[in-house]
Symmetry: C3
Subunit: 470 residues, 3 copies
């Protein structure tokens, strides 16, 4: 039936008369949105207090008084600061039944008792308020939407009004997403005010790790020599403490990227199903793996910079000069030990290859690159290459650390050297992974992840599409 | 009323018969556009001089003679080189009333006296000419539009024709933007021929800065020693001149990224409003801040490479060997000075951290990354972290430079060392910023930027949406 | 006529009643797709075996039995694992005439004898099957489609059904692309299972090159000293072999990026036309130039890391110390040779500038950056700057290699040093390019590429749009 009614209308939307939209407010955002709608084929009219004073860029766009402008269209974009909404209450008659689109943002999270959109709905009870466009910047509208988020979050109590604002969004090349009734406006208004919410936990964790390494390294390298030998070695605070901390943090954070996946797999093996929920802390941990990995990469980068700068340092040169002078004084030249070359050079090669793969992981996590790869390729890079990176970095620290201590690592006040501490979590992760890829566990895990349930009597048939991820 | 008429038509566009489009020209672009339209649901027919000779990839797409093809559709894409438009004049009858879409580009800016689209309109006066699709490449149409610009700039004198071409663009997954009447075709045809217009000023400025540093450094390091001591030090031209120039240029250009914002703020404070226009030169300067910053990053990168390569150089090794030999000959070994360690290592740490933040700024300016962050996050990175980068880099140069000259910097021919020159603009910027963040100025500035006008009697109510930026 | 019928319907799509869609399967993908469709304005109903057990996130989305749900909509998304399709056969009556959208993927390429979509069409012969959405991940649907591929590949035997699924895709903010009849489902199902198909040839080539360099370098640096002087120099395997191989590979692979374009140009010159097809091997080579270039950049990066790490190595320090001791013992100090400074420093400067441009090329090939540049800018960077990079890198190796051998390079077993081998292909490419840019060849080539045909009697008029690339 639907079909019969419509079959005679051929590509109606191609021929339609232009829809008109009204914009209240001639500020930066209002102008940009109005101009963009005009460019996309709408007839646009502005409402302003001083219509004769306002000069807009295009002669085909009229500027009228608010009351006049409101009569031209049943959709009105309210591009006015919330503080000035008051006057809209006086226009109640003109705005009766109209769709008011609240595009406003605040300066602080939860700045006002209610959301701007709800406040607007209170002021003009006869209108249908839709919250939209607040995540789109004036700049994005002016310059084209390519290099910015295209998502328009909408909410409102009237479904048809939302549909119409969604259609406008689509015509502007944006992607509308309905967030439900007007109560959601508060949440939508807070979106543009958030400051890296997903980065908080990884950053705090890195801070805590840095403090730990800082104290640990200071204990062994500053306080111990001072207490036992009365030597002043505070100068390590200028550089060495950073270099040692950063290398340890990089490899530890990288291992922490892979740990939650292993814990989840163990949970699945233990429970025998993938359908029971993982604990919240684990879920949150898994959601910020990308951030953890990128912070790990940042510290790896800093460590590489420090490492490459070492030979040019004053102390590096001084020790080298001193060693030559000692040889000459003692009249004994150090022999060329190929075992030293092997040690140092293989540690270096491991580190350089590890750092290269680390950067590759980072590049692949760039949104525009991860776009280009399919799911299998993404998994290959982030999982296979990721573990290879962890193995190489762990081996790099092990060989470099072990190089200095052919004898078992020296304990100072029962404390092993920093590099031993750095290796604990990577070792745990690699051992767990090694156990889980052994055929017996691997097989059960694969079965579980494809939806089989062990000891299950349920006749559940509907399984997740295999796009599901662990 | 509008509503009543339409309410019975349920999702008409879902059921419509296919619209047909004709493409004149079977070259690379014509084929790609035709194939893409076919994939997106249009019925496509090609017009060609030798229809029997043309083999197209799909059997459902017909190739006919021009006259025959023109009768199949009222939209005709002219994918033919401008030099061959002539024959279209002879088809005037068949093209009467049709929409002709000019997709052509030229090889040079302003190659012909009038734009191709206007020339086409002259040749076929009875047709409605629309300029479109010239910024879309054949490659993008073939490979999917993801990794390329999606914006289609349109212009034309007939509004309905433009609407229909806009609809086609949207169906192909592109974003059409109306640029007005056909006169705009010239501008649209020039877009794909521009060569980095926004980069010109920053690149010229960098060139000028490099020449300045080159001459300045040569004066102190080559000409002065030659004149005063008759020493040949031209070998600094192979590397040192680049290293010193690049470090100075990096920090100076970074400071120049932040200077225009400060000048604008001072102007606003002085004028007491944000509504009066800033001068054109300042506007242009502000628009190319991103380019300035990226060029600064390039020079910082080069400086870091040079810096890390220093200890491996012949001269580095020679001086070290020479110093050891001097110590042995004089029988006096240099003591290990912890103050030197502090100086060198802290300068290095400052530089490495500054470079890291610099790279972070660069990564955040990648379009696909800046997409992901909201306005507040973008401001935090580009403003807060940006100033921190400037502080770190300035401190790095200060400590490194100051290291060699515990005594006041040596003037040669009244010229201070290069590093002093490098620090002038960064110091100015940091001092200005320091003054402007002082509570008294900061408060007035925030009020102005939120739209308050000092000493103002205007009753202006409509303020910019707070998306506005300074 | 079309126009008359439609002219009274004003923007119909703005007012329409919601279209309803049914989703079979409440797994991860089904839920994500259903929720997204709900957010974009569809009324969504789920079909499930245990409707009472299923808890979905939104109270407005109903979960019914399969049979009931099927009656609510004539579009049914089958988000069920292929292994469980069987039960759909029993619902044949309810599914009669419905559009079934197969969204499934397999775990392996060609896992089943026929594609999942064809299998579904066999099971429910009365329904119209459309393959779609299988390249879209659940994650992308949940998080917004920005950072993932938006392309939906469709195929199916019923055109109208495909049109309707295409419309849904567009409403979700995705870009549908028709791949023809249902036979294409196999190909579409294989897309998400491919593992870097374009990278295979470049990676194998790199592997072969590495093996070659490894053996060549080992012959000269390990086997020759062992055979002739009985010296054990296997320790070069820890690092030097990588460093020398990587530098050679980087410059060779970069040259191989530009060689196919030159061969194609020579072919065009020889044939006198751009219209005859280039050989398949050349076509494939040209298609993976980007990948070749990025692998070349990877090796350049590794070489730079190795190069910067050299002075800090044990052997580097030992040789330096040893040289000082030798000078003291022989009581003869090495003079400071400015020619050595010139050699080393200019080689370094060439290498650093070459590496910088190399990275610039890499950044420009990031999808989100290549978006922002027009065709002319892209050509400028990838062609002009690309050749400049090749010149700088070639010069870097030449000066660095030549530095050690002022006398003609030493042949060992008739083998020239590695660096001479590295330079062969870059030299060939640069000489060919030099010949082709000479005015006589350049002019003919430009004419050919603009579509002129030498000695041609053909009256071909339609030429490619000048977007065509070589």
């Amino acid at each position: 039936m639907e079909k019969d009614q419509a079959s005679f209308a051929m590509n109606v939307s191609s021929y339609v008369k232009k829809e008109s939209v009204c914009v209240f407010g001639t500020g930066n955002f209002g102008r940009s949105l109005g101009h963009r709608m005009f460019q996309c084929g709408y007839s646009v009219v502005f409402g302003s207090r001083n219509p004769e004073q306002s000069s807009l860029c295009h002669k085909e766009i009229e500027v009228l008084s608010h009351a006049e402008a409101a009569q031209r269209s049943d959709i009105i974009i309210i591009a006015i600061h919330r503080d000035h909404y008051k006057f809209l209450g006086k226009l109640a008659e003109e705005l009766q039944g109209k769709i008011l689109v609240d595009v406003s943002n605040n300066l602080k999270i939860n700045q006002y008792p209610e959301s701007n959109a709800e406040y607007l709905a209170e002021l003009v009870p006869g209108a249908k308020v839709v919250k939209a466009f607040n995540t789109i910047s004036a700049w994005a509208l002016q310059s084209g939407t390519l290099d910015t988020s295209r998502q328009v979050f909408l909410c409102g109590d009237d479904k048809e009004s939302k549909q119409r604002v969604m259609n406008i969004s689509r015509t502007l090349g944006l992607t509308p997403l309905d967030h439900g009734s007007l109560v959601a406006a508060r949440e939508i208004e807070n979106y543009p005010l958030q400051l890296f919410p997903m980065w908080k936990f990884p950053l705090y964790l890195s801070g805590a790790l840095f403090i730990f390494y800082f104290i640990y390294f200071s204990l062994r390298s500053i306080i111990y020599p001072y207490v036992n030998k009365n030597t002043d070695r505070t100068f390590v605070l200028a550089l060495s403490v950073f270099n040692h901390s950063f290398s340890g943090m990089a490899v530890t954070l990288l291992a922490l990227v892979y740990l939650p996946g292993l814990i989840a797999a163990i949970l699945q093996l233990y429970r025998g199903t993938k359908y029971s929920r993982i604990p919240n802390w684990l879920d949150h941990w898994m959601l910020c793996r990308k951030q953890l990995g990128l912070i790990a990469l940042a510290f790896a980068f800093l460590h590489v910079m420090y490492g490459l700068a070492l030979p040019g340092r004053y102390s590096g040169k001084w020790y080298l000069a001193n060693r030559v002078i000692e040889q000459i004084i003692s009249n004994k030249t150090d022999p060329f030990l190929t075992s030293n070359v092997w040690n140092f050079d293989s540690a270096l090669t491991l580190g350089i290859l590890g750092f290269f793969l680390f950067i590759l992981l980072g590049i692949t996590s760039l949104p525009s690159v991860s776009n280009m790869v399919n799911w299998r390729e993404f998994r290959f890079v982030q999982s296979k290459l990721g573990y290879l990176t962890l193995v190489l970095c762990t081996a790099h620290i092990l060989v470099f650390g072990g190089r200095k201590f052919v004898k078992p690592p020296e304990l100072i006040w029962y404390l092993p050297p920093t590099y031993v501490i750095s290796l604990i979590i990577p070792f745990v992760v690699l051992v767990l992974k090694f156990i889980l890829v052994m055929p017996c566990f691997d097989r059960s895990l694969k079965q579980i992840q494809q939806g089989k349930e062990r000891n299950s009597l349920s006749k559940k048939v509907q399984l997740g599409n295999n796009n599901t991820e662990v």
